[in-house]
């Protein structure tokens, strides 16, 4: 049986990859994927601890995270398509409309 530490380690690694990717990549699709990675890192953590503590609430919360992630991915992709149609780019450095 795999001990809890390993799951925690895996979760931390996946989450860190997500954070690093979100901060360092410029392609907006990669950034969206990084967000998914962060969410899944959290999911691993939740499920592992849920099993370890014998408490189902962690797994219930995981389902919520998955469904929210699905919705977020749908909207995020829609925004990306709209952006691409207007700017013909998926590179966030080239989009600075928010500059005050």
């Amino acid at each position: 049986m795999v001990p809890l530490n390993w799951y925690m380690l895996l979760s931390a690694v996946v989450f860190t990859i997500g954070v690093t990717g979100f901060l360092m990549r410029r392609n907006i699709i990669i950034m969206l994927m990084s967000i998914e990675l962060m969410l899944n890192g959290v999911n691993i953590n939740l499920v592992a601890l849920s099993h370890y503590l014998q408490d189902m609430r962690g797994q219930i919360l995981t389902f919520f995270v998955i469904s929210v992630a699905a919705a977020e991915a749908a909207i995020g992709l829609a925004i990306i398509i709209a952006l691409f149609r207007n700017k013909a780019t998926a590179h966030v450095d080239e989009v600075q409309e928010m500059k005050g």
Partner: protein, 637 residues
Amino acid sequence: MKLYLLIPFLPLAAFVINILFGRTLIRDKAHWVSCPTIIGSLVVSVITLIDVINGKIINEDLYTWVVSEKFIVSIGFLIDQLTAVMLIVVTGVGSLIFIYSIGYMHGDKGYYRYFAYLSLFVFFMLMLVMGNNFLVLYLGWEGVGLCSYFLIGFWFEKKSASDAGKKAFITCRFGDFGFALGVILIFLTFGTLHYVPVFDEVKGVAGQTINILGWEVDLITLIALLLFAGAVGKSAQIPLHVWLPDAMEGPTPVSALIHAATMVTAGVFMVARCNPIFNLSEVAMLTVAVIGAVTSLFAATIAIFQNDIKRIIAYSTISHLGMMFAACGVGAYAAGIFHLYTHGFFKALLFLAAGSVIHAAHHNDIQRMGGLKKYQPITYITMLIAALSAGGIPGLAGFFSKDEIIWSTFASGSPVGTLVWILMIAIAFFTPFYSFRMIFLTFHGKFRGTHEEEHHLHESPPVMTIPLMLLAAGALGAGWVGIPTILGGGAHIAHFLEPVLGHPELHGTHAQEFGVMGLSTTIALSGIVIAAILYLIKTYLPLRLAQGFSGIYRVVFNKYYVDELYNLTIVKPGLWIADSFIERFTDAKIIEGIVNGVPRSIGRFAGILRKVQTGITQHYAIIMAAGVFILIVLILW
């Protein structure tokens, strides 16, 4: 339903309808709204008068207007003998002037506005005379002042008209300030503003003094003088008389209604209404009598030398108002109100007839008129009746009221009364003199204008001449209600007003009364005769006299330089302060400093903050991550 409420609120309804729908819907049919309503008011006023004659006095509160701890004021109405007389003057003369206006203002582009303001004026004037407390009086008082401003400046495209409106409003403000202080002092003294309790309790505070800046001042005298200050402004007495002649810039029917028959008499009405207060202060009575008499003579002398037909009548109005105050000042309030009532008819008639002349001649200068008798016979005859009535020729309305005043001043027995009486006798000469100078120069002799102007001369339409004829009937017969007892009359109006105004103490025999009457009549007739000699027979004489007494002539012709004096002492310094201090410092530095400074500093702060918003998505992401990191550190510490 209280029937008397229709009297003020019918004109108010006319105002609301005309001002809301006048420009788009009603336009040149505005008189169909205003005229029926004021005639309705007149009908109800007559019914009310009959009720009052039958002894039905109304004094009731209808609505609580202001409640602030002990300061409780209601909108209420007091309809007694004095109010009933005023109602007849306001609505009766008002109705005729409204009808006359249809002809006079025909085709003016502000036609609906004219009738709207006129209706609003009548509403405020009626509130002024019908109120049962000082605050309703004050409401009407300020309201009529406002409407006067609107109507003097009615042709506001003309600079002189809009200036005259401002002058009237600002000059009256000096007096109204005193009036407001008087009303406040009444409340502080009596704890109420209703007439009846104030007048009941006023005897109790007689002799009390009040400390003002270290001076012990008699309370009643102070209240009376402050109230009288308001009357001085509104009724154009010295030293605040300067606005009334300039007010002639307004349309002539306005001059007839506001600046002859009603608004300017509000001061006299107020003094008469407050007679229990005035009676208790000898100083105040003295002031009223002296200011009235001096103003009266002062204005009468100016009227002699004026060439503007409306200004002559304006100075004549000031002179007659002075007579009314003089009567009130010797305690003969009923005589003052009686003169107010007859004056309303003959003075409105003089104005409307002058309006009819101006309508034909298209200017106001009597030196460029003459011989209008044959073009305007109705105007001529009605104006002649008005002048005879104003001059105090026996049998006409003006005679009875004027004689009542002259007799009251003579018979009051005090030294002031005698002084005032001497001035009144002088005025009895001047009034017919200047009235007939005006008539002779306007209607007699040869026309002195250009040939083309003569071509335009014509009689006014019936809508104007019929009100003239009706007013002429008033100028003839309105005085018959007050024929003195020695001439076989009943002096009905004096008896009618006695419950409100009291009865003056008169000391004199019948022989003296006849003597005074005979004297004033002789003097009045001699005034007409001398005017006839100077302006009909020896027409070269006036010019020669003016050259002979050029110093006096110049001073009087320039209205004793009062306007110039005020210009130098009040207007110029006022403008200087406004210009160099208020505009350059208060406005530019303080007010604009605050108004512009606050948004400017907010803008500067925002300018710093906006630099955070780079628009680069990564920056936002890093800030978010840093925030999360800081939160984690803080929680796990």
